[in-house]
Symmetry: C2
Subunit: 217 residues, 2 copies
């Protein structure tokens, strides 16, 4: 079951049927980001370049965060030494995946995001102080908004024609300690990035129906 | 400064310059989802239909969650009575926006998502029990993954040619109490949806540079 995102295969009829003409996003983009894209468990050896990561960031940075706080920070783990330290913190099956992916990125929330508010939210002078005086608010805002940005980043990886393998099975405190000496970062996910390799995925798992998720009051 | 997403305006040169050819996603889709799209603060009176919301969900449901848990639940607040109850829980400026948007949706995490695992993660029989026995894991997994799904939903609204106005300034416990009698849901965001109205947005706020966000080790 080898597939790549370079040449999306024809979709099964049940996927086609979902598309009902109410979307402005073109069909190819729908497939690339959502319908044909899959979480990859194996990758080819093809490197993921600095230019590709820059292109992904330059796209997804425009997506919204609360008060434009943008707390996401990304560590690209490129050296064998750093890769080894990261793999030690990963759980079970994630060790092998993290060892072999062409690029591995740590995505973390910077709880000191408020130090950037003068730049990113300049019209509200008191913004920094609101966060500086409230650790719980700062921690919660950092985590929530970095998680939104994680989702944007996953879709950005797909927008670059690559596959993402996001993982949350790891020792988060261990990664924080190994990779963020300031004690102010909270690791949200580790994401493998590359072209899907042989047997990159299992059969697609079912999604909840609209009526199981959406209610009207 | 009236703009709509129906006819994206020409982008400023600084946005054009960011696009560097490393993305497979076509330019129109980049603009619709990320570069031209904006968080709207005002909306026209044009209704948002059930069919539009179904089309959005049928697209974004394919985006990934950990172990396919899909904890997001969405309440479409359509009756004047329910709208009034919601507005009471909103903070400051969000009251007026929530009062007037054509569609308002409450996005919440269902901490009882594990009851669906037999359907959505059928190949791992022990999955439900792992979560059933660990409230902290269940709460954290529900919040993190529903937040990812919130981000997918925001981009899905844009994919439908609509604007989203996500808000986190509200009494979350109050909304949980008013709208989720089971005590198992955690409100993550309230999102206004519609076509942008007059003066829908202020000048675009700056984003952090790549080198402020991404490091390599």
């Amino acid at each position: 079951m080898t597939q790549t995102h370079d040449a999306p295969t024809t979709l099964a009829p049940e996927f086609e049927a979902e598309f009902d003409g109410h979307l402005e996003l073109d069909k190819d983009a729908q497939d690339l980001l959502f319908r044909a894209a899959r979480t990859a468990n194996t990758f080819t050896d093809e490197p993921v370049t600095e230019e590709q990561v820059r292109a992904i960031y330059d796209l997804v940075k425009w997506a919204p965060t609360s008060m434009n706080i943008q707390p996401l920070r990304i560590v690209l783990v490129r050296s064998p030494e750093a890769r080894g330290r990261l793999v030690e913190q990963m759980g079970g099956n994630n060790k092998a995946k993290t060892s072999t992916a062409p690029l591995v990125a740590i995505l973390a929330a910077d709880t000191d995001f408020h130090d950037e508010l003068g730049k990113v939210f300049p019209h509200f002078e008191g913004a920094r102080d609101i966060f500086a005086g409230n650790d719980e608010l700062r921690e919660g805002s950092a985590r929530l908004n970095a998680t939104l940005q994680l989702a944007y980043f996953i879709l950005g990886i797909r927008a670059a024609g690559l596959a993402a393998g996001p993982m949350t099975g790891f020792d988060a405190a261990g990664i924080d300690r190994e990779f963020f000496a300031d004690g102010a970062h909270r690791t949200i996910a580790v994401v493998n990035v590359g072209r899907p390799g042989p047997d990159a995925w299992f059969d697609r798992l079912p999604r909840l129906d609209y009526d199981e998720v959406v209610t009207t009051v």
